[in-house]
């Protein structure tokens, strides 16, 4: 499989974690974690439960603040990254629970919080529905998905279509970094394939991608780089083609399953 990002390994990181440490009470969730995120690169974040994957994702989206270390947004060092600042910079997270409004249509969900406005009357902002539908359709089409009905409540749609809508919504804003928290955990085989395709398309547009996954098949199918966390520390950070499943599992669990196949 050709890999357009391999040549980008020396590109400027768009987001950087530098020596990030995070405590929850006495528990050290992350210890001295440094990670460069490069446009177009899919980083698979793997690790056992409690290894600190979600904590790292939440720090990068501004929900948690690191106790030590810094986050760099491009050239800027940010001491206190908050969700508003992260969003403004173009960082979005797609959660496993999807976070869709089931009662609204696809267009309303994709454009939620940034509806195009046709007219203002005092504090009231009237939505330009035509533009809203067109823009949402464009964002969904960019992910290679066809959706006929942009108006019907999304509760009537299938799991795969809903996933596409959730990802499209995040990509509207996520022009720098998009994080997927176990994107395929609840999906069937076909939907998983479709979702992985979506993730690759998002990356191909030059967005840095983090994908948390427990499924090594998914990881080896799409990731460019694999980062394993174990007990809050990075135990592996390597391009995908320079590692093996055995090594990844060993770094996740701390247990060595014999020598790597050479």
């Amino acid at each position: 499989m050709s890999d357009p990002t391999r040549t980008r390994s020396d590109a400027q990181p768009v987001v950087r974690a530098a020596g990030v440490t995070k405590y929850f009470g006495g528990v050290r969730a992350l210890e001295n974690v440094s990670l460069d995120l490069i446009p177009g690169e899919i980083v698979a974040l793997v690790g056992d439960n409690g290894a600190g994957k979600s904590t790292l994702v939440k720090i990068l989206s501004g929900i948690y603040q690191p106790d030590e270390g810094n986050i760099w947004l491009g050239e800027t060092e940010v001491r206190q990254l908050d969700p508003g600042r992260a969003r403004e910079f173009g960082i979005e997270t797609v959660y496993q629970q999807l976070f869709l409004c089931d009662n609204l249509g696809a267009a309303a969900n994709v454009m939620l919080g940034r509806e195009p406005v046709r007219a203002r009357f005092g504090p009231l902002r009237f939505i330009d529905n035509k533009r809203s539908v067109n823009e949402a359709r464009k964002h969904i089409a960019e992910l290679g998905i066809e959706l006929d009905n942009m108006i019907a409540p999304v509760r009537r749609l299938s799991g795969g279509q809903r996933q596409a809508i959730a990802i499209a919504r995040s990509t509207v804003n996520a022009h720098r970094l998009i994080q997927f928290d176990e994107p395929t955990a609840a999906l069937g085989v076909r939907q998983t394939r479709a979702t992985l395709d979506l993730i690759q398309r998002v990356a191909a547009r030059g967005v840095a991608v983090i994908m948390i996954s427990h499924n090594l098949d998914d990881v080896f199918a799409v990731a460019h780089r694999i980062v394993a966390l174990r007990l809050g520390r990075i135990s592996l950070n390597t391009p995908l083609d320079q590692t093996t499943r055995e090594q990844v599992v060993a770094c996740m669990t701390g247990v060595s399953f014999g020598k790597e196949a050479s």
Binding site: D102, N103, L112, G113, R114, S158, G159, V189, R190
Partner: protein, 335 residues
Amino acid sequence: MSLPSVSTLSKWMPGGGRNVGLLVTLVLGLLLISLFSPQYLSLDNGLVVALQISFVGIASLGTASLIIGGNVDLSIGSQYALCAVSAAMLAKELPVPLAWIAGILLGATLGLINGLMVWRINISPIIITLGTLTIYRGIALRITNGFGVRGVPKSFSWFGQAKFLDIPLPIWILVAFALVAHLILHYTTQGRHLFAFGGNKQAAEAAGINGRRLVLASFALNGALVGTSAVLAASRFGTAAPTFGNGFELDVIAAVILGGVAFTGGEGSITGVVLAVILLGVINSGLISTGIDPHYAQVVKGAALVIAVTLDQLTQEQQERHRKKLAFQERFPTA
């Protein structure tokens, strides 16, 4: 000539099948009543009924918005009483127009207090507003010593008794407010965000929507509408008593739910709510005009509500089955 099918109608009607059902029931009801009581379908009687429903109608616009946003205010009957007696009492001290305005603003304040508590204290709005239901009623009883307000100046009555083009002012206000509420709910970002917040609070906040502002604004607006309704009623009577609005919340919430607003939030239309308000008003007045024991009106209204929510639930379950089938087909395309 062929009639358009129900499915075509429901596509054309805002709010879909529910509103078609309400409209058909309303027309059938009117026909049935006019069979027994031919004078019911007259312009004069229409205005009488319209005036009767305008008080519940105005309040139901606010309560519909509140429930669509995932909240509810059970204290509106007490707000209604407190606003009515306060306006009547203030009219004895202040210029009358100021008393009207004060009554409306008091409603907004009482609503806002509920909103602040619902937002700050993470307890169901049903419980919190059940508490303020008692508190507000208690205050209304205390400041009046339990009696109707006496010695209200005659000019206080203008607001509720005024007419334009022979149509009483409360009806104009209901129509105007319903149009504005319809525009806000279905055409503005604020309305869209209210639906989103009622549909999935977490998703709405993840999209950057300010939930606090939405909750406070919808409670305060609801209070202002209840205040308007209460001042109109007090003004129409020329006075007010602390027992005003007993059971008002039940009438309003029944109309809102019958109108297709989901009690769980995120669903509903102003068209449906207005149709339901009219339908309940017609049931009330129609049964009286046909000479049937008016106590049956209660039974019929309650039955209409139960039938409507049952139909809703059945449709939803059918849709859920359809969705599950889709999901299954997606997973196992050959099955």
